[in-house]
């Protein structure tokens, strides 16, 4: 797939904590899910493979080496969901292109809060983290 930009809605829905101030490794689009860039100091990137650990959702687009605000755990935000049949309550993990999928069971670090009836649509999720360390 290729990245599809979010519609008019803003990325944050209900905020719990402030966004993190990070730097972009590579180009990041608004609303993309990002992971920490390995061996870099406070950089995030959009992995091109599945199963990287989700760090958060970018609040706006950023070029390589520029600053980017990332909504992290504790916030309810809009994120792109790959499936057309994911149900509220499903756990989500990070796939390529900054998209979340319930097909990625480990590490799962976001909880879907509404049904996703259309593929690659933006839905509200709760970003959380330590759940992934538990059973299931």
């Amino acid at each position: 797939m290729t990245w599809t930009a979010p519609a008019t809605e803003t990325i944050p829905h209900q905020l719990g904590i402030k966004a993190y101030n990070m730097k972009a490794s590579g180009t990041i689009e608004r609303g993309q899910a990002v992971a920490l860039a390995p061996n870099m100091d406070s950089y995030v990137y959009v992995p091109n493979t599945s199963s990287q650990i989700l760090f958060g959702i970018a609040d706006y687009g950023a070029y390589h080496n520029s600053g980017v605000a990332v909504w992290g755990m504790g916030n309810i935000v809009y994120a792109c969901i790959s499936s057309a049949s994911s149900v509220a309550g499903s756990w989500l993990g990070l796939t390529a292109e900054g998209v979340l999928s319930e097909d990625v069971f480990w590490p799962s670090s976001a909880l879907l809060l509404e049904n996703s009836a259309t593929a690659y649509n933006f839905k509200r999720i709760l970003l959380c983290d330590l759940h992934g360390a538990g059973a299931g």
Binding site: G74, A88, L111, L113, E114, R124, C128, H131, A135, G136
Partner: protein
């Protein structure tokens, strides 16, 4: 155990130490202050009392007040330390550092049903109040 709201009646504020703001959800079914809640399948931004029924549920947080069916309810989520009921304490299997899971009646349990994931960590040893144990839990 069953849910007994008298156990938490003396806790005017469920939140012991707040880390982040509470979330605003719609209640599916009546929800009592201090009950652990989870997302309602096939609904939008709705929560219900945790259950151990087949399929399980993954706890989002703890309700900070009572809510009737379809009413708005504030839910303390990850990052907050809250008072909540649990299945056992004292000489039981919940004490500081133990991970707990959302269980039937919205209480925390040290045993995960249906492979649900960790909801919180106990930060003290729960004490028996009326019919249930009440303790402090860090929601994660």
């Amino acid at each position: 155990m069953t849910w007994d709201e008298t156990d938490l009646a003396s806790y005017n504020d469920i939140i012991y130490q707040d880390g982040v703001f509470a979330y605003n959800f719609k209640a599916s079914g009546a929800i009592k202050k201090g009950q652990a809640v989870c997302a309602v399948p096939n609904a939008t931004m709705e929560v219900m009392v945790c259950t151990a029924a087949a399929g399980g549920c993954d706890c989002i947080g703890v309700a900070t007040g009572d809510a009737a069916d379809n009413a708005q309810v504030a839910v303390a989520g990850p990052g907050n330390i809250v008072y909540a009921c649990c299945d056992s304490g004292g000489a039981g299997n919940i004490y500081a550092g133990v991970p707990v899971y959302g269980d039937t009646y919205g209480v925390f349990d040290a045993t995960a049903d249906n492979a649900v994931k960790i909801a919180a960590f106990a930060v003290d040893t729960p004490t028996l109040v009326t019919t249930a144990y009440v303790g402090k839990f860090l929601l994660v």
